[in-house]
Symmetry: C2
C-alpha cells in the first residue's frame, strides 16, 4: 500500500500519527482537510508532502463549482495558497504546487472539466514518478553501503515519507534486498519520535536488523566505532548543498565528522532549491510547544514551562562528501553537481 493514493475521487493517506499501534487510512475530499493533514503531520516527509499538495490541488479542481476557466483558476489559486501555508520548510510542497499550477494554466486545455481531469492526471503522474525516482535513488545510494555495515539513521525517510520506498531508508531497503548484511541504529528523533514510531516499524516490517536508541546515544555508538555510515533525508537543499533536515541532523553530522564516519543526505532532486544560495535562507518552522512538553496525553514538564521547538536545522555542506539523488551521488563542489542533477531529472520527465 502506498502512503498516499487517489481512489474514487478521494485522497487516501495512512495516518502516521497512529503508527506503530494502528494502521489507519484517512479519506479526504476537501483540499482544506489535506492542508490540515500536512500541518498536523498525518502525512510528513518531504516527498510525501509534495504528493499530498498535488492531490490537494486535484481535489480543489473537483470541489470548485466554477463554470469558466477564470473562476476555476481563482479557486485553484486560493487552494494553492492554503496548501502552501501548511508547512514552510520542505520545498517539495512548493515544487508540487508550481507543477500543478502549470497544468491549471495550460492553454491547450479548453474547458474547466478538461483542467479538472488534467489536474488529477498530473497528481497521479507526480506520485508515480515519485516511486520511480525513489527506486533509482535507492539503487544509486546502495553503492555507499557495504556488507556488514552499521548505519545510523535519523527521523523517518522510508515508504511513509514518500509515496513509496523512501529516500535514505529506501537506500537501506535496497541494500538489504541486495543481500547485504546490515544493521540499522534507529534514533528515536524527538520531539515527534518518527524514528521510534515509524522507522522502527518499517524496518521490522521488512525484516531489517535494527536497534532503537535515544538521540542522545548516537555519539556513544559513533565514538566507540560501531557506526560505519550515517544516512539522512532532507526537507530542502540549497544550491550550495547546505541541507535543512529534521532537528538534530546538524549534531549528528558534526559528531560523525569528528569520528570520521561517512555522512550522506539522500534526496530526490525535487528537494533541491536552486533559488536559495545557502542554507541560511531556508525558513525553519517553529512548532507547537506541546510536542516537547507532552507525549500523547502525558505531560513530561512543569505546567507553564517556556519552550522553543525548531523542527529543522541546517547542516552546512562541509560536513558531507556527497548528496544522494535519483541522478547519482552529487559530489563536492555541489553548486554545479546539484544544478546538473536537477536539469537531468527535468529532462527525463519532459
Amino acid at each position: 500500500m502506498r502512503t498516499i493514493f487517489w481512489e474514487d475521487n478521494q485522497v487516501k493517506m495512512i495516518d502516521q500519527r497512529r503508527l506503530p499501534h494502528e494502521l489507519v487510512v484517512n479519506l479526504y475530499d476537501d483540499y482544506r482537510e489535506v492542508a490540515g493533514a500536512i500541518k498536523s503531520m498525518v502525512i510528513r516527509g518531504a516527498p510525501a508532502i509534495g504528493a499530498a499538495a498535488a492531490y490537494g490541488m486535484a481535489l480543489a479542481g473537483l470541489q470548485s463549482r466554477a463554470q469558466g476557466r477564470g473562476d476555476l483558476l481563482a479557486d485553484l489559486d486560493q487552494a494553492s495558497k492554503t496548501l502552501a501555508a501548511a508547512r514552510p520548510t520542505a520545498v517539495n510542497l512548493f515544487w508540487a504546487l508550481e507543477r500543478m499550477w502549470r497544468v491549471a494554466t495550460d492553454e491547450d486545455l479548453a474547458s474547466p472539466d478538461q483542467v479538472r481531469a488534467a489536474l488529477i492526471d498530473e497528481a497521479q503522474r507526480l506520485a508515480d514518478e515519485d516511486v520511480d525516482i525513489n527506486r533509482r535513488m535507492a539503487k544509486h545510494g546502495a553503492a555507499l553501503v557495504n556488507d556488514g555495515d552499521t548505519i545510523l539513521h535519523h527521523c523517518n525517510t522510508g515508504a511513509l515519507a514518500a509515496v513509496d520506498w523512501g529516500t535514505a531508508l529506501g537506500v537501506i531497503f535496497m541494500a538489504h534486498e541486495q543481500g547485504k548484511h546490515i544493521h540499522v541504529l534507529v534514533d528515536e528523533t524527538r520531539p515527534r519520535l518518527q524514528g521510534a514510531a515509524l522507522t522502527a516499524w518499517e524496518l521490522m516490517q521488512r525484516g531489517v536488523d535494527m536497534t532503537l536508541i535515544a538521540d542522545n546515544a548516537a555519539g556513544y555508538f559513533m565514538q566507540s566505532g560501531q557506526v560505519n555510515l550515517v544516512l539522512v533525508g532532507a526537507d530542502r537543499v540549497a544550491a550550495n548543498g547546505d541541507v535543512a533536515n529534521k532537528i538534530g541532523t546538524y549534531k549528528l553530522a558534526v559528531v560523525a565528522k569528528e569520528n570520521n564516519v561517512a555522512f550522506y543526505p539522500v534526496v530526490p532532486t525535487s528537494t533541491i532549491d536552486l533559488n536559495l544560495k545557502s542554507g541560511q535562507d531556508i525558513p525553519i518552522e517553529m512548532r507547537d510547544p506541546r510536542e516537547v512538553t507532552h507525549i500523547g496525553e502525558h505531560a513530561i514538564a512543569p505546567t507553564g514551562v517556556k519552550v522553543a521547538n525548531p523542527a529543522f536545522d541546517v547542516t552546512p555542506n562541509r560536513y558531507f562528501p556527497g548528496i544522494g539523488t535519483e541522478e547519482g551521488i552529487g559530489r563536492q563542489p555541489f553548486e554545479s553537481g546539484l544544478r546538473d542533477a536537477v536539469e537531468r531529472a527535468r529532462a527525463r520527465f519532459k
Copy 2:
C-alpha cells in the same frame, strides 16, 4: 528541604520519579529499599547517590541485631555490597561506602552501639559536607558566568542531584543570586527526561529565566550563536580528566567545541576517581529498554523492538579547558590539577 535527609532513624528522600507533578517524600528504614531507590532512580545524581549510600549504611547498622563487632561488620559488609551493586557508573556511591567502612572498622569504637551511632554521625557529616562543598563549588563556578549569558544545561545537576544546591545547576543558581542576568536552555535529556522534569522545575521554582528544548535542538542554538556556555555535571571523572556523564554529554561537547562555545563539567572532588587512568576504564551502565520504548504507560515504539540504552557516555578531556570543583577550576593538564584538588579537599575535612 533537602533532597535526602535523616529523621527519626529513617532516611527520607524526595521521590524524583514523581516530579514535576507531585512533591512526595518517601520513607526508608531498610538499606535494601535504599538500594532499590537508587536503582529505580527515586534518587539520582552522583552526589545524592553518595549520600543515599551513606544513609543506607547507617540504616544497616540499626537493622543489624548483631551483639558483637564481628557479626555487625559481617552485616555491614553485606549491606555495603548490596548498595554498591545498585548502580555502576557514579563513583560517589563507592566513595561514600568506603568512607562509611572506615568508620565501621574504627578500632576506637568499643561496642556495636558505638559503631551504630558513629555510622549515623558520619552519614550526617557527609550530607552536611556535601551542602558546603556544593556551595563552594557554585562560587568558584559562578566566575565562569557573565552577565547576559545563555547557558545550555544537560540532565539535572541541581539541588535534587545533591543533598542541596547542586553542581552545574548550583553554579547557575549562584550566578542568578549574584544578580547576573542569565538565560538557561534546558535540554530535556532523553530517555529519563531529567531536564524536562527536574531541571525545568528547579529553575522555575527559583525564578531563573529558562527555555526547554529537545536534545536534538541544542545544535541549532549553538550554531546560531545563541549559547555562551555549556555546563554539565559528571558521574565519574578519570585521573586524566575524561568525564563520564549522562548520555548525550559527548555530543554536546563535540558540537560546543565546533562552535567555539565554552564547555565545563562541574563536579565535587568526590566524583574524581584517581584510580582510573582514563575514561575508557569507566563502566557504563546499560539500563532497561523500557526507558526508551515507554513514557509513563505510553508506548512510543513497536512492541518487541530491540533497544540499546547506555545511560552514560565519556567525553574525552580535550573537549573542555577546565573542570569546576569545590577547590576551584582545575585546568589542563588535568593529571596534576585534579590530584591536587582531591588532596586539598581531603585535608579540609580531616
